[in-house]
Symmetry: C2
Subunit: 79 residues, 2 copies
């Protein structure tokens, strides 16, 4: 099944990339855009029929390697 992993910086962590995007947008006239936060979207094709088991494995992979627990938080979404 197709599993979506969303990795975002924790709220309290500064996001200079997002701030740079906000400034570029403001310079182009998109003044209505306020805060911008940039994260990663990973789409994994994962074998297995049991959604609970697949979720547990992907969450383990997030903790082990896909996300940095010091500054990032992750969310796993199944179809």
């Amino acid at each position: 099944m197709q599993v979506e992993v969303r990795v975002k910086l924790k709220e309290q962590v500064l996001d200079p990339q997002g701030e740079a995007i906000r400034r570029v947008l403001a310079g182009l006239g998109y003044a209505e855009v306020g805060q911008v936060r940039v994260g990663k979207l990973m789409l994994l094709e994962v074998g297995g029929d049991d959604p609970g088991a697949v979720r547990a494995r992907v969450e383990a992979a997030c903790r082990e390697v896909l996300a940095n627990p010091v500054i990032e938080e992750f969310e796993v979404r199944l179809p």
Copy 2:
């Protein structure tokens, strides 16, 4: 309102970052993970009450600067 912009590589574009992640996961025992594709997740705080107008503006920003139309496709999601 909080607007989500999803930027993904087009299907026909190779994703070496995703392939590297797949290989690392396989080496760690996650053999059930097949293809991995990596995209960007941008969360924008956008002023305005009219969802249609907000969507149109954010899509314009995507075409202008947030996505590379040669290799990427984008999707705008409103709350």
